[in-house]
């Protein structure tokens, strides 16, 4: 059932699925770190719900990844028993929460990518991919509505909130280029009509980002320098610390279940 048939090699599909699953997993964990610490109760609840959606999406991708790999690993083994160099999330997702503004900016930059990416995946030649994308895409649109709205309100807010949002944007901008870099895995998926080329999503992403940041009175940094490495397992130092927290239970008590 997990066979991708003749269309694509299983190891390529597996690698690509890890990328899909790892970004929402790591971002979801990051967002969940706010639970009980948000500036106001409503936002605490909203952040926890966004985290829940992201982790739910990750489960669908990682479950499928495990089936494709065919070595008996399921979503849990993939999430809790891999080390940093085996993770394939965007570096942007693992960046620390910072203040509420940085968390929101990180969310917005990723949501603006996920919406067109998942929409394009709905017409994937692989039915399982297209089903997961349709399900996750509905949630991503809702997330983008929220993060865009808050980026505008805080950017075009008080001098203090504006300053914090601009600082967050300046800090995170260099991590956005990686989302459009693409490599041989993306190329193979594109050639097999299974997924879009990341670079082709850039115009849609850019349009959303330009409009929202303009409304938010924020200035887009001029530099197009892009940190890269997430897709090949070369992560920033933050991922290891995140995993130490996220994976502690399974490392200390292997196989523990509810």
């Amino acid at each position: 059932m997990a066979m991708s048939g003749d269309i694509i090699a299983n190891d390529i599909l597996f690698e690509w699925l890890l990328r899909r699953g790892d970004t929402p997993l790591i971002l979801g964990h990051r967002v969940s770190e706010w639970c009980g610490h948000s500036p106001v109760l409503e936002e605490d609840i909203a952040l926890a719900n966004v985290a829940l959606d992201l982790i739910g999406q990750s489960r669908l991708w990682l479950t499928y990844a495990g089936e494709v790999e065919g070595k008996g690993r399921g979503e849990n083994e993939l999430a809790f028993l891999r080390d940093a160099w085996d993770f394939r999330n965007f570096l942007l997702a693992e960046q620390t929460n910072g203040d509420f503004g940085k968390t929101l900016m990180r969310q917005f930059l990723i949501d603006a990518y996920q919406v067109p990416f998942l929409a394009a995946l709905e017409s994937s030649g692989n039915e399982r991919i297209s089903e997961i994308a349709a399900k996750a895409g509905k949630e991503a649109v809702y997330h983008l509505d929220r993060s865009a709205d808050l980026v505008i309100r805080l950017g075009d807010g008080t001098p203090e909130s504006h300053k914090r949002m601009q600082t967050a944007l300046d800090m995170l901008w260099a991590y956005t280029g990686e989302m459009f870099a693409g490599d041989a895995v993306d190329e193979a998926m594109f050639d097999a009509s299974l997924a879009p080329k990341p670079e082709n999503l850039r115009p849609q992403w850019q349009k959303t980002v330009d409009m929202v940041l303009d409304q938010a009175t924020l200035k887009i940094p001029q530099s197009d320098f892009a940190h890269q490495g997430g897709l090949s397992g070369r992560h920033s130092e933050h991922l290891g610390h995140l995993l130490a927290d996220m994976q502690f239970l399974q490392r200390a008590y292997p196989g523990a279940t509810w």
């Binding site: 992201l54 999406q57 297209s130 996750a136 509505d145 865009a148």
Partner: protein, 176 residues
């Protein structure tokens, strides 16, 4: 009833049983009101119930599956298999009319299709400034003078609203 007596109960009967299972988070709704049960069929003596999740990370999903299993076993079904189906993705369009009425009486504003903004994001961005006006009516006093406080409420399927007439906060079952 003793197990084994209803091995091949009709699917109508099974749907009836399923309609008696309350949603774990909004107990006034049954699972059939919620629209998460997509199919019920017998396959060579095994009852197959197909369930779709509301939201991918909704913690109630596991409880829903457990409740279905417990209920059907209590009703005497021995061979049972639950299947998850993602496509087509769950939508609030599947909430039954009866379910919407029950939600309102319970104090949760039911989804209003007309409130769903289907314009492309680009067209909506220009209007994004603070708590938006809405035509969601207050489930307590029916006033339409309400505002959204947060896009998420007490569960993944709800948003937080406030009535500006009776001043009560309330949950809105968001359109999805």
């Amino acid at each position: 009833m003793q197990p084994g007596n209803v091995k091949q109960a009709s699917t109508d009967t099974i749907w009836q049983w399923l309609s008696e299972i309350p949603d774990p988070e909004i107990p006034v709704l049954s699972l059939t009101d919620l629209g998460v049960i997509r199919d019920v069929r017998w396959e060579k003596g095994t009852l197959v119930v197909t369930v779709t999740p509301t939201y991918t990370g909704c913690p109630a999903t596991a409880v829903i599956n457990l409740d279905i299993e417990t209920k059907l076993r209590t009703c005497g079904v021995e061979d049972l298999r639950l299947e998850q189906k993602l496509s087509p993705p769950w939508t609030t369009d599947w909430l039954s009319a009866e379910g919407r009425e029950k939600l309102k009486n319970y104090g949760i504003a039911p989804p209003v299709d007309a409130v769903k903004d289907t314009r492309p994001l680009a067209d909506r961005i220009l209007q994004m400034t603070g708590a938006s006006k809405s035509s969601v009516s207050c489930p307590r006093c029916d006033s339409e003078n309400t505002e959204k406080i947060s896009q998420f409420g007490s569960t993944p399927c709800k948003a937080a609203y406030r009535c500006k007439s009776c001043l009560e906060p309330f949950d809105y079952f968001k359109c999805h």
